[in-house]
Amino acid sequence: MNIYLLQIINGIGIGMLYFMMAVGLSIVFGLLGFVNFAHGAFFLLGAYACYQFALAGLDYWLTLVLAPAMVGGFAWVIEKAFLHRIYKLPHEFHILLTVGVALVLQEAVILQWGIVGQNIAVPEALEGVLILGQFVYPKYRIFVIAFTAVIALMLWCLLDKTRLGSIVRAGSESTEMVSLLGIHVTRIFSYVFALGGATAGLAGVLAAPLRGVEPFMGVEALGIAFVVVVIGGMGSFAGALASGLLVGVVQSLMSTLWPEGARLMIFVAMSAVMLLRPNGLFGRT
């Protein structure tokens, strides 16, 4: 097999993970209109929840359900306890608050699990590699691609095809009008924020066996999520998917073409997209 083809496959694997990291940020942005800087911290929590469950000997498949649910629940609490009170303020306060939450969570993780990174074993059923000609690819990465694709489909149905999805989009314009229609919009905020947290948590769980856990992994994930959302178009679900894949593939191809500039090229790709489509690939004008 051709090395570039392999890198593209690998890039899809990375890209699906990036999509998962970014989609929640995009959804939350879509409804609430601000950048959730605690998004990376939710990713971190998901990964550590996975670590903790693995220590406790819990089945990985159970973790895959439980951990995101817990992170989502936690996000819900954060929303209720803090964000709820400051929706009316300008966005800089939302950012300030979520930056604060991110810091607190990261440091709390250090206090609880220590500052040294830890390894998490790949679930037994997915151990080993798949042999594609002369090329091998870890089974677990294949699983991540497939699983994320299913989740993506579910999310898309939820946000585009249901009444809840309409409400979420409507709420991103005027919460007052939505509540005038008898919809408890602040409750929807909480749900969506929790959903965003849960997707980040899920990304964390999926990433943990690939990258291990360490307390600063959230910062990097947040950075990636930003770029993915900017390229894809804020609040756009399809955009997050397309641009997650784009970033993954660019990064992976660059590892062969010009490894020193792999990261830089992501941003060059971003500029190129911005130049051609100022609102991102799928951004609304």
Partner: protein, 234 residues
């Protein structure tokens, strides 16, 4: 008596806008709130809906106190406001605008709304941002109907509409009235008001300064002159 306001006061921050409004509306009735710009008509509606929290006074809906409830709770009970800015969701299509508001128990279905406003059916796939002013107004009213209102409040519903459409909307409001939904109408267009309403209130500086039946109002040029500045004689 389906809705009743007693000595209601409403504020924007420190400015005291609604200064003790009392009014009521019965089943099947259409009443109007009239008054000059800035008199406090919109604010009164906002106070009823809880968008502006009433600081004093009682608001009873179906015999139950609703003052102090959040807007969504009030709306859920069956009070529905079509605001003067219409509040169309630009990111949603016409149809999504309608369906997102739909309640299962509402006698007003999508079909029903399209039947009244065929123009909406034509533009059902259009984004809310791509509607002309009149289309937006139709959509706003249609959407309010989808929520199964027990009292409908319309804030200047024919503002900016072409005369034919005004005719159309007036006819439709008439139909809504016949279906038994009581309506509070804020409107500058007296012709519309007098065609539809059973009673009128005139508000000035946040107080009700006149109330009378449609017939009384029509006959009393002095009132119109004094409170609304219409110089009929001229």
């Amino acid at each position: 008596m389906i809705l009743e306001l007693l000595d209601v006061h409403g504020y924007y921050g420190k400015s005291h806008i609604v200064q003790g409004v009392s009014l009521h509306i019965k089943k099947g009735e259409v009443v109007t709130l009239l008054g000059r710009n800035g008199a406090g008509k919109t604010t009164t509606l906002n106070t009823i809906m809880g968008v502006v929290a009433p600081r004093r006074g009682t608001i009873r809906f179906d015999g139950k106190e609703i003052a102090g409830l959040p807007p969504h709770a009030i709306a859920e009970k069956g009070l529905s406001l079509v605001p003067e800015h219409r509040g169309i969701f630009r990111l949603l299509t016409v149809e999504e605008n309608l369906t997102m508001a739909a309640r299962r128990d509402s006698p007003w279905s999508l079909e029903e709304v399209y039947r009244i406003f065929p123009r909406l059916r034509e533009r059902r796939r259009n984004g809310g941002s791509q509607l002309s002013g009149g289309e937006q107004q139709m959509l706003a009213i249609g959407r309010a109907l989808m929520t199964n209102p027990k009292v409908l409040m319309l804030d200047e519903p024919v503002e900016g509409l072409a005369p034919v459409i005004v005719d159309e909307i007036v006819t439709q409001i008439g139909k809504i009235k016949e279906s038994g939904i009581p309506i509070i109408l804020v409107e500058q267009n007296l012709a519309v008001c007098t065609q539809l309403a059973d009673r009128h209130y005139i508000i000035e500086q946040g107080r009700v300064v006149y109330t009378g039946s449609n017939a009384e109002f029509l006959a009393d040029d002095g009132v119109k002159d004094r409170y609304l500045g219409i110089n009929i004689a001229a």
